[in-house]
Structures are given as structure tokens and as C-alpha cells.
Symmetry: C2
Subunit: 153 residues, 2 copies
DNA sequence: CACAGTATGTCAGACTACTGACATGAGTCA
DNA sequence: TGACTCATGTCAGTAGTCTGACATACTGTG
């Protein structure tokens, strides 16, 4: 069934390659986080809270690229497990500032090291200059995709 | 709640940026495919079949980065909709070579144009040289992630 | 003040993709 | 030939995320 690569155009499509790279990263992260009993979103949430303490549910959702409904489900689980805490009442508006507990920080420490190893493995063959290039390119892509479709005028 | 960017290290993490870019692309693709009544995997499957006719269920799964079980469910749906056809019996082994129908090609044509527009929008600010760079960098990342963890020796 | 508009937290149901499991067919090797 | 290994197709159950909906709280404008 395999017939080498016809080289049609999939192999050069940056959209496809971006998906392939993200998928490979996703699988690698899953592989190291699963033994720790964590999902990727679970880890992302803790990491985000460590770097930006006091983020609300909606802000965490945006930062981890899921809906606020999904993040809400996750936060309730993390709260039950004693990894994060939220005040019973919002200090202002409806947003509940979330904080890591010591237990949460502890769990994150192990996971964070594992994730860092995966990221370093991914970048093993890239020079510092390459990595800067990649940051610039990805930033440009994100910016262009975030703009409105730019209707013809 | 928002407090600018502390610039901790999330903003420079290539893993995070890769995820952000893939997420932005995913959302943009969803937005253009949904009006056509297609999901991203649905489209990816048709596109792959157009460029590599006769791929089996498992090969399509690998090409679209889902499990063969998920692809099987999708293929059965596409078959019911008359977009693809598979022989009742495998010509060799168990693999069933899948082909697009005229109806499948027709649906793909519209979707493919929409997807191409999204990809071009994403690359709007990137020179041809930039795009080549990006291909090289993504390829390197994928290759490094695909290698075994490289135990210490 | 009253009102519309926007952002948030949360519950419920639906969907997509996943893991687990089993049977079938091809290739390898003694 | 028979045993073993591997890849494939498929069914069933599970988990994570999504959409839809509603109530609440801040903001700006008349």
C-alpha cells in the first residue's frame, strides 16, 4: 500500500507541517505526563498558575486554549485534589483568582522538569539563532491568523 | 485581573508557541469548514485521499494524526454519505484501499479552496525564504520528537 | 437612575477521539 | 507444516472537550 512519497504538496504545506509538529509534541508530552497521572491541560493549568498567580477561570482557559467550560471542570477536579484554591466569593466582579497550593507546586515541579526535557529534545538540532527564527515565524503566523479575515475592499 | 505580561518564560517557550500557533490554525480552519458541514479530520481525510488514492484506513489515520479506530468511525460515515468507497473484500491482506467518489471530490474542491485561503492568510507576512526556513525548522522538530528518548549512555 | 452590552462562573447534554479488546491475514523462522 | 510476530479492521466503553443555556456582576450611555 505504501508507495514512497509522491511529493504532491502535502509534504510542503506549512499548515500540515504545523499540525504534524504539534501532534508529535502532544504525543511526547502525553507520554511523559501520563505516568504522573496528569493530562496536558492539567499540567498547562498548573504551569500557568505558577507563572501568573491569581488568574481566573476564563483567563486560564484562554491561556491553555480550551473553553472556559472545560477549564471549569478541570479546576473543580484540581480543587478536589487539593492542588489549587479559589476563594468562595469573588473579590471584585465574578472572577475568582486561583492560586496553587504547596501540593500543587510540588506536583508541578516533577511535571515541569519532564516537560522541559521534551521541549529540549524537540529543539536538540536547532541553534539558538534557529530558535529565535522559529519564535519570530510562529509569532507572525499567530498574529496573521488572529486578524479578521480581511474582507476585500 | 489582567496585568500585562510578566514575561516569565511562557512567552518564549517554543513548545507553548507551537501549541498556540496550532490552536489558532485549528480555530481558523474550524471556522471556515463548519459552514460547509465538515470537521477538520473529515476534510483532512478527503484531502489525503485526493493526493494519495487508495490509502487504507490505518494509513489515513496516521496521515491525519488520529487513531485507526477514530478514522474507522469517520470512514464509515463518509461511506454512508457517498463521499468515499471501499471494496467489500481486501485485495491483499486486510487493508481496504479507499477511493474518493465524484461527490467526495466535489465536496473537497470547495473545502480545499477555503483551507488554502486560511493557510495563505497565516503566511501573509512571511517571505518565501521565511517559509522555507519554517519548513526546515518544523521538520527538525518533528524528527527530534520522533526519535526515542535517547537514554543516557 | 435605567438600560444595553460585555465578561464571568456554572450546569447540562452532545460529540469527538481515545483506550481496550478481539479476530483476521501476511510474513518469518525453525 | 506449525508457531510466532506484526499490521489491519472493527466493536465497545471511557474520557476530554465542546456547544447551549442561564444567572450574576461590571461598564458606559442616555
Amino acid at each position: 500500500m505504501s508507495q514512497g512519497e509522491p511529493g504532491v504538496e502535502l509534504d510542503t504545506s506549512l499548515g500540515y507541517m504545523l499540525k504534524a509538529a504539534a501532534s508529535a509534541l502532544h504525543s511526547a508530552l502525553e507520554a511523559v505526563l501520563k505516568p504522573l497521572g496528569m493530562t496536558i491541560t492539567h499540567y498547562s493549568c498548573l504551569e500557568l498558575l505558577a507563572q501568573r498567580p491569581g488568574l481566573s477561570n476564563s483567563e486560564l482557559a484562554r491561556g491553555t486554549f480550551v473553553t472556559r467550560q472545560s477549564m471549569n471542570v478541570l479546576l473543580q477536579a484540581l480543587e478536589r485534589q487539593g492542588l489549587v484554591v479559589r476563594p468562595a466569593q469573588a473579590p471584585v466582579g465574578r472572577a475568582l483568582p486561583t492560586e496553587l497550593t504547596d501540593r500543587g507546586r510540588e506536583q508541578l515541579k516533577v511535571a515541569s522538569a519532564a516537560v522541559r526535557r521534551v521541549e529540549q529534545a524537540m529543539l536538540a538540532d536547532l541553534s539558538p539563532a534557529d530558535q529565535d527564527q522559529m519564535r519570530r515565524l510562529l509569532t507572525a503566523c499567530i498574529a496573521s491568523l488572529s486578524e479578521p479575515p480581511a474582507s476585500a475592499t
